[in-house]
Structures are given as structure tokens and as C-alpha cells.
């Protein structure tokens, strides 16, 4: 067998094995046709599953390829993937238990549900659903692009990027249909296991093979590329203020992703969420090995056009084909599994929160489930189109997504902490925030004056929310009592 055949067979075998596990786990419960089962897994996931669902979210193809890619092209700004994770998990310790509590009391299954109950407004719920789904598209595009890169490079060029992404599209859609959330959680455990093995072997192995160890790697870096080791790295705009605002924004945004917010509701208790928050930062450490890989690649194979390909290009010239295939398989799962979790929640949002709650309250469960599955196909197709025709670096896609999604943060947090927050306040804050993000992104103004553009948008968003809330009349006591459970 040729090298590319060996590598591709290994990748496919891992992908199919994981689909099979997902299918098995999804079939295990007969009620999988029910939308609530499919989307929150019946609200009985213990710490173990929630851990893998959530921890899985940070190990996407972005970390796998983009982490090394950013170290390779930009240097120190990539450290942000470590720090934002720490900030996000620390925040989760404090904000998730109250969100979970409200979810349990009011039987919430999704992020828009939270807004509908707190602000007594279906319109706001639908808006949140739409914005959430809109910003999931760059995230999904990122997964498909990553998968395309993996298959392209590890097949030694035998399969082009576009066919690889179409294959990826088919696999992801199929996996999503059959597995549901429970299947994804199982697949996620396998993914994380393979990912950790891959990352450790490569992250320690490559610096050792080429430079005689991690200490030597950085000693060489300090001589050849000292500018890469501190902020702003090999950039002009990503200095300390960019770093701090980006970590703050991404930390606050992390749990605002509709699919991650939704996974909070599948937890069995608030305590499980706190325990997760304690252990997750340790897990976040895994990303540092990819930074090692990126720096090793910089010293060993400089001058690549696309930094995202650094990881696999270096792996390919170092390891035998079967191991490249193993890396490819692990990498493919880091794209497939998060993509499917994302699709499950995006489609549920559109079918349930927009279609059923706004347009057709009398729609049957069967219709809604059918619609949800159609949305899966449409969304993957749109992302596939973007991935093929509008390619951009993975990390840029991630940052655009975070800028948008974080605009929910003020309305969620102030909604929990400050009873005076009103519907017009939350609505205008979100709209202003999204408008600023759109303006900065489309005019290429992010980072803005040395700060993360999304962070600036969020500050303005919070100010607008507070001012408008104070100018409008206090929310009805009945709504507050119901939401905070103070009626009894």
C-alpha cells in the first residue's frame, strides 16, 4: 500500500469507528426521536458526561491545527488559548450553577428559553436564536476547513481540499442524524482520549527529534526569534492590551455559545458544574503542547504559506504513514464531534425556538424534529460553501465567532444579578453590540486601538443595557417571581 492509502485508511477507520459508537449510544434509548432527548439527553448527565461534552468543546480542530498555526505565524499571541480557557472555567464556577438552577426550575432546554423566561419576550428569544446560529456558522466553517486540511495533508496530497471537505460534510451530517447528544458525548470521550495521546506524543516528540528537547527549542527560539516569545509577537496590533481584552472577552463568551449554554442544562446538578470548573483548567494545559509543535515547525520548516498546515506538514515528514493516519483520525474527530454538537443545538434552536414558538405553536413534535434535521443539512451546506470559497485562517474564524456570541453576556449576567434589567435594555444592548462587531469586522478594524473589537462592543453593550433599563419601567413582578423562584 502507498503511504497515502495507509494514512487515509487509518483516518477513515477511526472516523467510522466513532460514528458506530455514536450510533450505538444513540440507539440505546428508544426515545431518541423525541426532540428533548435528542437535544438535552433527558437532563440526566452526571459530571462524567458533562465533563466530556464541555471539555470536548475546547479541544476542537482549532486547538489541533490553529494553535500550532498561530504559534508558527504570530508567536506569543497564541498563549491566549491557555489563558482564556482559565478565565472561562473560573467564570463558569460562579455563573453556571445559577443558570442551571433557573433551567431546572423552569424546564429550560436552550439558550433562547432562558431569555424568553427572564425577559418575558418571545421576540428576544427568537433574536437570540438567530444571532446564535449566525455566529455558529464561522465556528462550523472552522471545523470543516480544519478537517479539509487534515485529509489533504495526511493523504500526502492524494485527496484535494474540496473533495475532502465534501466527504467531511457527509460524515458530520450522518453522525449528527444518528447519534444525538448522547452519542456525541460518547464519541467525545473517544476523541479526547485519542487527542491527548496524539498531542503528548507529538508535542514532546517533535521538539526532541529536531532540537533535542523543549529547553533547547526555546533556547534556540530566544536566539533566532526572540520577538516571537513575548507580546506582541510577530504582529503589530496584538500587544498586551489586545491579549488581556481578548482573554476577558473569550472567557466571558465561552459559555455563551448556544450549544455550550445548552449543555449546562443536561447536567444533573449545579455541583457537577462546579467540580467541572475546578478540573477543566488542568485539561486546558494540553494546548501548550501544540504551541511547542508550532515553534518547532517555525525553526524546522520555515516559510509555509498557510500556518495552519504546519502541524501536519511537520508530522508527515517525521512519522511513518500509519501514525500520520492516527493523527489525522484524532484530528478529524476534533472537527466532527464538536461540529455535530453544534449542529444539534443550532437546528433545535431554529426548529423549536423560532419556528414552533413564533410561527406555528401548534406544530407537531414530528414536524419540528423533521425541520430540525433539515436545518442540519442547510447549515452544513452553507458552512461548506464558505469553507471552500472564502477560506481564511482558523483562528480568525474563531475570533469572529467569539466577538459576536459574547454580546449575550451582559444580558445573561445582569439578567441574573440585577432584577432591574428590562427587556428593552437587554434588546438594545444586544443589537448595539452586534452592530459594532459587524462594523469593526467588515471594515477590518479589529483589533481596534490595540484592544479586542468584541470587547469594546461588549462594554458599549453593557452600558446601553444599563442606561435603557433605568429609563424603562421595572419588569413585572410576576415575571421576576417566576424566574427567580421567589413566588413561593
Amino acid at each position: 500500500m502507498s503511504q497515502s492509502a495507509i494514512a487515509l485508511t487509518t483516518i477513515l477507520a477511526i472516523g467510522i469507528f466513532c460514528c458506530f459508537i455514536g450510533l450505538l449510544a444513540g440507539k440505546g434509548n428508544r426515545k431518541a426521536t423525541n426532540l428533548e432527548q435528542w437535544s438535552v439527553g433527558g437532563r440526566n448527565f452526571g459530571a462524567f458526561f458533562v465533563w466530556f461534552l464541555m471539555a470536548g468543546e475546547i479541544f476542537t480542530t482549532f486547538v489541533f491545527l490553529g494553535g500550532a498555526g498561530w504559534a508558527y505565524t504570530k508567536g506569543a499571541p497564541v498563549y491566549y488559548i491557555l489563558t482564556y480557557a482559565g478565565v472561562a472555567y473560573a467564570l463558569s464556577y460562579f455563573i453556571l450553577p445559577p443558570i442551571w438552577k433557573a433551567g431546572k426550575r423552569l424546564k429550560l432546554v436552550s439558550q433562547p428559553d432562558f431569555f424568553i423566561k427572564r425577559y418575558d419576550s418571545r421576540l428576544l428569544g427568537a433574536l437570540v436564536a438567530f444571532i446564535g446560529v449566525a455566529f455558529m456558522i464561522p465556528y462550523l466553517q472552522m471545523q470543516l476547513t480544519g478537517l479539509g486540511i487534515i485529509v489533504e495533508v495526511s493523504s500526502y496530497g492524494a485527496v484535494g481540499r474540496a473533495p475532502a471537505m465534501i466527504l467531511a460534510f457527509a460524515l458530520v451530517a450522518l453522525f449528527t442524524f444518528t447519534s444525538g447528544l448522547k452519542g456525541s458525548a460518547w464519541a467525545s470521550t473517544i476523541k479526547d482520549l485519542l487527542m491527548i495521546i496524539a498531542v503528548l506524543v507529538v508535542g514532546i516528540g517533535l521538539p526532541y527529534i529536531y532540537h533535542g528537547g523543549i529547553g533547547h527549542l526555546f533556547a534556540k527560539m530566544a536566539v533566532q526569534h526572540p520577538d516571537y516569545l513575548i507580546l506582541p509577537g510577530n504582529t503589530k496590533t496584538m500587544g498586551v492590551s489586545w491579549f488581556v481584552t481578548t482573554c476577558a472577552l473569550s472567557g466571558m463568551g465561552f459559555y455563551m455559545w448556544p450549544h455550550i449554554f445548552g449543555s449546562v442544562f443536561s447536567s444533573k446538578s449545579g455541583e457537577a458544574l462546579k467540580k467541572n470548573a475546578i478540573f477543566m483548567p488542568l485539561y486546558g494545559c494540553a494546548s501548550l503542547f501544540l504551541i511547542f509543535v508550532g515553534f518547532t515547525a517555525l525553526l524546522t520548516i520555515p516559510g509555509l504559506q498557510n500556518g495552519d498546515m504546519a502541524f501536519f506538514t511537520l508530522a508527515r515528514q517525521t512519522y511513518p504513514a500509519w501514525f500520520v493516519g492516527f493523527l489525522g483520525g484524532a484530528g478529524a474527530l476534533t472537527a466532527m464531534v464538536p461540529a455535530s454538537v453544534l449542529l444539534i443545538s443550532a437546528s433545535t434552536l431554529i426548529a423549536r425556538n423560532v419556528y414552533q414558538q413564533i410561527f406555528r405553536p401548534d406544530a407537531s413534535d414530528k414536524t419540528v424534529t423533521f425541520l430540525a434535521r433539515s436545518v442540519v443539512v442547510v447549515l452544513t451546506a452553507v458552512s461548506l460553501y464558505l469553507a471552500i470559497f472564502k477560506s481564511t485562517m482558523l483562528v480568525n474564524l474563531l475570533l469572529i465567532g467569539y466577538n459576536g456570541i459574547s454580546q449575550f453576556f451582559p444580558a445573561v449576567i445582569l439578567g441574573l444579578l440585577w432584577k432591574r434589567t428590562t427587556k428593552p435594555g437587554a434588546l438594545s444592548g444586544i443589537i448595539v453590540g452586534i452592530a459594532i462587531v459587524g462594523y469593526l469586522t467588515f471594515n477590518g478594524l479589529d483589533p481596534f486601538m490595540g484592544c479586542n473589537g468584541g470587547f469594546i462592543a461588549m462594554v458599549v453593550n453593557a452600558i446601553v443595557l444599563i442606561v435603557v433599563s433605568l429609563l424603562t419601567s421595572r419588569p413585572p413582578q410576576v415575571v421576576l417571581d417566576r424566574f427567580f423562584g421567589t413566588a413561593e
Binding site: G86, V87, Y89, Y93, F218, L229, I230, L231, V244, L282
Partner: protein, 77 residues
């Protein structure tokens, strides 16, 4: 105890956001890593540690509160 809880809660945010401007340097290299990189890494286990301690304190307080409730309510264990 209250002060300790506030410090533990604030630690992850202060160390990972506010302190960054003061650690943006290569020297001293620690464990072969440039200082900024080392600092970003070490903050993660320290975050776990501070949240873990906070969790233990909260648990202990909840238990004490529960015990005193049951004893004043006269419910035997």
C-alpha cells in the same frame, strides 16, 4: 473566612488578566520556558487549586449550616 473566599474567587481573574502587563518578558527562563509562556501555563493549575479550595470551604459551610439546622429543628440523626 469571608476575605479568604473573596481572594480565592478573585485569584484566577487577577492573575490571568490584571497581572499580564507585568510578566511580558522572556527572562528569567523557567524550566526552559520563556517567562511569559511559563506564567500563562502555571496559572492554570493555580486556578484549579484556588477554585478547589473555595469549593471545599463552601461545602464545609453548607454542612455546618445543615447540622445546626437539624439540631435546632430537633430532628435526630
Amino acid at each position: 473566612m469571608k476575605l479568604l473566599k473573596v481572594c480565592l474567587a478573585a485569584f484566577p481573574f487577577v492573575s490571568q488578566l490584571a497581572v499580564i502587563p507585568f510578566v511580558n518578558r522572556i527572562e528569567p527562563m523557567i524550566c526552559g520556558l520563556p517567562f511569559l509562556f511559563f506564567y500563562c501555563i502555571i496559572c492554570l493549575p493555580l486556578t484549579s487549586l484556588s477554585l478547589g479550595l473555595l469549593f471545599l470551604i463552601e461545602q464545609k459551610e453548607a454542612k455546618v449550616a445543615l447540622d445546626s439546622n437539624t439540631s435546632t429543628g430537633g430532628v435526630s440523626q
